[in-house]
């Protein structure tokens, strides 16, 4: 292979490599004077060796003297280091900051929190929408999926079993109340056996009303406050 063809092929190779801002130069254009002093034949080389003249770009042993010495290819580090978190986990954290800024709901069901809500407890979910009545029930299952964390509540309404999944971080939910704890920790994470007639707890309405009464005694009735707000709003509207 002649020098020119080698060079042209190398140039083609360089062009094929996608151009980036930090592209290492693969080939240094040879200064014009070098080619003139380069040995063209073996005889010339031998004569040069005999005269012990300094030969530029002297090839190493075992290589064809016609081939130029291999250039050192500069190796750069990858363009930007990988972010420590994946895109999905970044998204989860940003969304959680939006939906649960204080991390209260996260703590409510966290595994590390000693006072966390556990399966078997009776919960009540209040909604921001005033038309939707709060739903109470026994916590049967906690589905821990980051942003999509959901809880399954079971109750009886008009003697019909009803189960509801709610997303923990749903913006529609105003709050989650712990009505009653299970006396003993449930020995299972999923209490699906509570669907069986033998283990079914039935309606939790009585428990919830008792709890509401007790809370009223201590003056912490959220529903009453809400109703008062509604009344005030209605009064204001009436005055106008």
């Amino acid at each position: 292979m002649s020098l020119q063809t080698l060079r042209s092929s190398l140039v083609r190779f360089r062009d094929a490599v996608p151009t980036t801002t930090t592209k290492p130069k693969l080939i240094q254009p040879r200064p014009p004077g070098v080619l003139a002093t380069m040995p063209k034949t073996l005889d010339q080389l031998l004569s040069q060796l005999r005269t012990k003249k300094p030969v530029k770009n002297q090839p190493k042993e075992g290589r064809s003297p016609l081939k130029p010495a291999p250039k050192k290819i500069k190796v750069y580090p990858p363009p930007c280091p990988r972010p420590p978190n994946s895109v999905l986990s970044n998204f989860t954290t940003t969304q959680l900051k939006l939906l649960d800024p204080k991390g209260l709901r996260q703590r409510l069901f966290s595994r590390t929190n000693k006072d966390a809500i556990l399966p078997g407890d009776i919960l009540q979910i209040r909604f921001k929408d005033a038309n939707t009545e709060p739903f109470a029930g026994v916590l049967i299952n906690i589905r821990r999926r980051g942003l999509d964390t959901a809880i399954l509540l079971r109750n009886h309404l008009t003697r019909v079993g009803v189960e509801m999944w709610y997303k923990l971080y749903s913006p529609k939910i105003e709050g989650i109340d712990l009505v009653e704890r299970k006396e003993r920790r449930a020995r299972r994470a999923k209490l699906y056996y509570m669907r069986l007639p033998k283990h079914d707890k039935g309606s939790v309405e009585g428990v919830v009303t008792r709890w509401k009464k007790n809370r009223m005694l201590f003056g912490g009735d959220l529903d009453a406050k809400k109703n008062n707000k509604k009344k005030m709003m209605a009064k204001k509207a009436g005055k106008k």
């Binding site: 739903f135 999509d148 959901a150 309404l157 008009t158 003697r159 019909v160 079993g161 009803v162 189960e163 509801m164 999944w165 709610y166 997303k167 749903s170 529609k172 669907r195």
Partner: protein
């Protein structure tokens, strides 16, 4: 997932107690809450005991073997809502309607799904004692 041969509870005072689905109306595989089906009455309510408040004529509107239209109001198959919540009942239940879509019974006992309102069954929704 109500389909051919599914047995449903009838929760109105039309006189039917247990009905069997014989057709899902519309191009559907299964009926969900708010879907219309054709049913055959399999068991009717006992005459005097069914509803002491309503007159006996109301409790006798349909008889065993009658073929009627009905609207599914509860399903055992869970149904996901747009906000991500899921509702699931312990039984399948329906309400009988006539061809025009008006409920045959005058009262209903039992909770129903809220999807009825979205599917133009607000009359049934208002008759129901509770909806979730």
């Amino acid at each position: 997932m109500i389909q051919l041969k599914t047995m449903l509870n009838c929760i109105d005072n039309s006189g039917a107690s247990i009905v069997e689905c014989i057709k899902v109306l519309g191009q559907k595989r299964h009926a969900r809450i708010g879907d219309r089906i054709v049913i055959v009455v399999q068991r009717q309510r006992a005459l005097g005991l069914s509803d002491s408040h309503s007159n006996s004529a109301a409790a006798q509107k349909v008889r065993k073997g009658d073929i009627r239209h009905a609207v599914v109001v509860r399903t055992k198959k869970q149904l996901q809502r747009k906000d991500g919540s899921v509702v699931r009942f312990d039984d399948n239940a329906c309400v009988l309607v006539n061809k025009a879509g008006e409920p045959i019974g005058t009262r209903m006992n039992g909770v129903v799904g809220r999807e009825l309102g979205e599917k133009k069954w607000s009359k049934i929704l208002s008759l129901a004692p509770m909806h979730i």
